[in-house]
Amino acid sequence: MSLPANETGIPEHPSAPLLRMERIPHVWCPGCGIGTVVKCFSTALERSGLDLDKSSVVSGIGCSGRVAGYMRLDAFHTTHGRAIPFATGLKLGRPELQVTVISGDGDLVGIGGNHFIHAARRNIDLLVILINNFIYGMTGGQNAPTTPLGAKSSTMPFGNFEQPFTLPHLAASSGAPYVARWTCLHIRRLTWAIEEALERKGFRFIEVVAPCPTLYSRLNKLGTGLSEMRFYHDNAEIRHGADTRDLEVGFHKKIVCGKFVDEPRPTFLELKDQHYEEKLGEEYVPMPQEGGMIHA
């Protein structure tokens, strides 16, 4: 396969058309897993055949919150924890948009946890990719609502004693119709999962377990990003359809991956249209697909 070359003669990165190459190098550390997710998302988006001009990406704050900033899509880098409600407004304001939220564990289920469960409950049409590195990276390795029991963080220097969330279970029990988990090692399976989720509707949730060598691994003496990859290789167990109650991630214990939920149910907008058509008949005017903008 020949790759298009840029002016320097160096082959262009295959995902370059979807990236803001002028912003590279990115802010992420060597060995970080976030770039892998960006690559898988870009590949899945390209393969999906979706109109990329109508695809938006929304991030919150933190290391993973920087993803939107590198995507050559309509891209929104919002406030801490509020990527999901921001994306909700975007989707409802122009229903034809395909909106993806990519952000971190602290952002989406720490400060943004309330929005996460309610968007899943309402089945808002969003693809949510949560990059879980078990820690607050950008601020210096503080404890997260995902930090495994016993793992060290800069605010739990003797090990975490708080029960973490099991994210697929949180999403599934809140009503998400599509729930999967992969690690940064599973790049093909993760890409397929994103492709599949892009074909589905409603609140689709994919957790990606990612290494944070600078903080999580260093504080817990887990070695480099590569050591984490080796750990995923040896300890990830693929179990599709597993009961989401059994998916807790322990400290340095096996990580169950796979697709756990794939049960479509009507989205917020489908229910809204159906409900008002039933109640109001011809009086009901749905929000136009291109949005409720009055044109100049």
Binding site: T79, T88, K272, V285, G291, M293
Partner: protein, 385 residues
């Protein structure tokens, strides 16, 4: 352009300020509202929830006010005019994403029907103590526009103005109603759609290749592209350059934040609105807003019968503040009397602008009811001595 008739309930109605504000929003072309229930503002969204299904609007009751404001900012980036509605405690939560709207230069409207505070305060009773929060509530430097209606009719009219100003200056515009006006029922005349001037969202005509979301172009604001039209733009709450890309430097901070200030400060004369009466002969000027303006009028009539030369300045824009007018008057009057349902907020601004040339007398009221007009009258008499 003229209003879309689908949102205009033409006729003479008997409405409270909350309902009237909701009607104003729909007439202005608002088609997305996200909100969380809170007294005394909830009737605004109840009205909208009832009427939106027949005009292509979407109302969503969010999980809290943080989410409501975030959704409003998101929706506005699709070009759909967007609003949220709240009262004090919710207004506090909204400050986070009001700051985001200011930083991203997102047109939107926030209605705050003020009750007594702080904290849960007086949920069902009047206050006007959020007026400084409207100006300074979110962190960092930014400018907003805040309007204040004194009647249900004005709640309708000013909600339309709020949407129009938000489009022209790409800022969140705050409609600072108070519980009395929100729950007061009066005649509200809604004109034909043809008689309502609406500022539409102006979309850029540039090609995606030449478009910069925050281009400095000599106009107060940059050109707007909405999500989904192929511009593939980037916007952020971080300090950003013309491309909307984060740049962490004091130089970029100066350019980025200075724009947020100057787009309002350079157009204060076009934005500021007030109503004046009897100022030319006045020795004392009463400055008031919202429901307190109506109470102050009674006090003014009382003291005028006694021969006191008193003028009246009613603030319609709280922010920007009519600085020039206060300065001009301060040269010739003895003092200003400022009744407000708080312990002295806007009086600080009057005092600042008077610059020691005329007294600024506060007539405070903690909230829960309106002023006794005789208390205001007494303050006017004192100031006139």
């Amino acid at each position: 352009m003229r209003a879309d008739p689908a949102g205009v309930l033409t006729g003479a109605h008997f409405l409270d300020g909350d309902f009237a504000s909701g009607e104003g929003a729909m007439a202005a072309g608002c088609r997305f509202v996200a909100g969380y229930p809170i007294t005394p503002s909830t009737e605004v969204v109840e009205r909208i929830a009832h009427r939106f299904p027949s005009m292509g609007g979407t109302f969503i009751q969010m999980e809290d006010e943080l989410a409501s404001m975030a959704a409003v900012v998101g929706a506005s980036w699709t070009g759909t005019k967007s609003m949220t509605v709240t009262s004090g405690p919710g207004f506090s939560l909204m400050m986070e994403n009001i700051g985001l709207a200011a930083m991203m230069e997102t047109p939107c409207v926030v209605v705050n029907v003020q009750r007594g505070g702080p904290s849960t305060g007086l949920p069902t009773m009047v206050g006007q103590a959020d007026v400084m929060q409207a100006r300074w509530g979110s962190h960092g430097d930014y400018e907003v526009i805040a309007l204040c209606p004194q009647s249900p009719q004005e709640a309708f009219d000013l909600t339309i103005d709020a949407f129009n100003l938000s489009e022209v200056y790409r800022v969140p515009v705050l409609l600072m109603m108070d519980e009395c006006v929100g729950h007061m029922t009066e005649k509200v005349v809604i004109p034909e759609a043809d008689g309502i001037e609406v500022v539409p969202r102006q979309l850029t005509r540039k090609s995606p290749a030449e478009y910069l979301p925050y281009e400095v172009n000599g106009d107060p604001v940059s050109e707007f592209a909405r999500a989904g039209d192929g511009y593939r733009f980037h916007t952020t709450g971080l300090t950003h350059d013309e491309r909307g890309y984060p740049v962490m430097s004091s130089e970029c901070q100066e350019t980025c934040v200075r724009r947020l200030l100057d787009k309002i400060l350079d157009h204060v004369d076009e934005i500021v609105r007030f109503e004046e009466e009897g100022l030319e002969e006045a020795e004392v000027v009463v400055v008031a807003f919202g429901i307190t303006a109506r109470v102050a009028r009674m006090a003014i009539e009382m003291v005028r019968r006694e021969g006191v030369k008193v003028g009246f300045l009613r603030l319609i824009t709280l922010w920007p503040f009519p600085e020039k007018e206060i300065r001009r008057l301060a040269h010739r009057v003895q003092g200003f009397v400022v009744p407000e349902i708080n312990y002295g907020q806007m009086v600080l601004e009057v005092e600042r602008c008077a610059g020691g040339r005329a007294a600024a007398v506060s007539v405070p009221h903690g909230g829960g009811s309106v002023h006794d007009p005789t208390v205001i009258a007494r303050a006017i008499r004192e100031a006139a001595k």
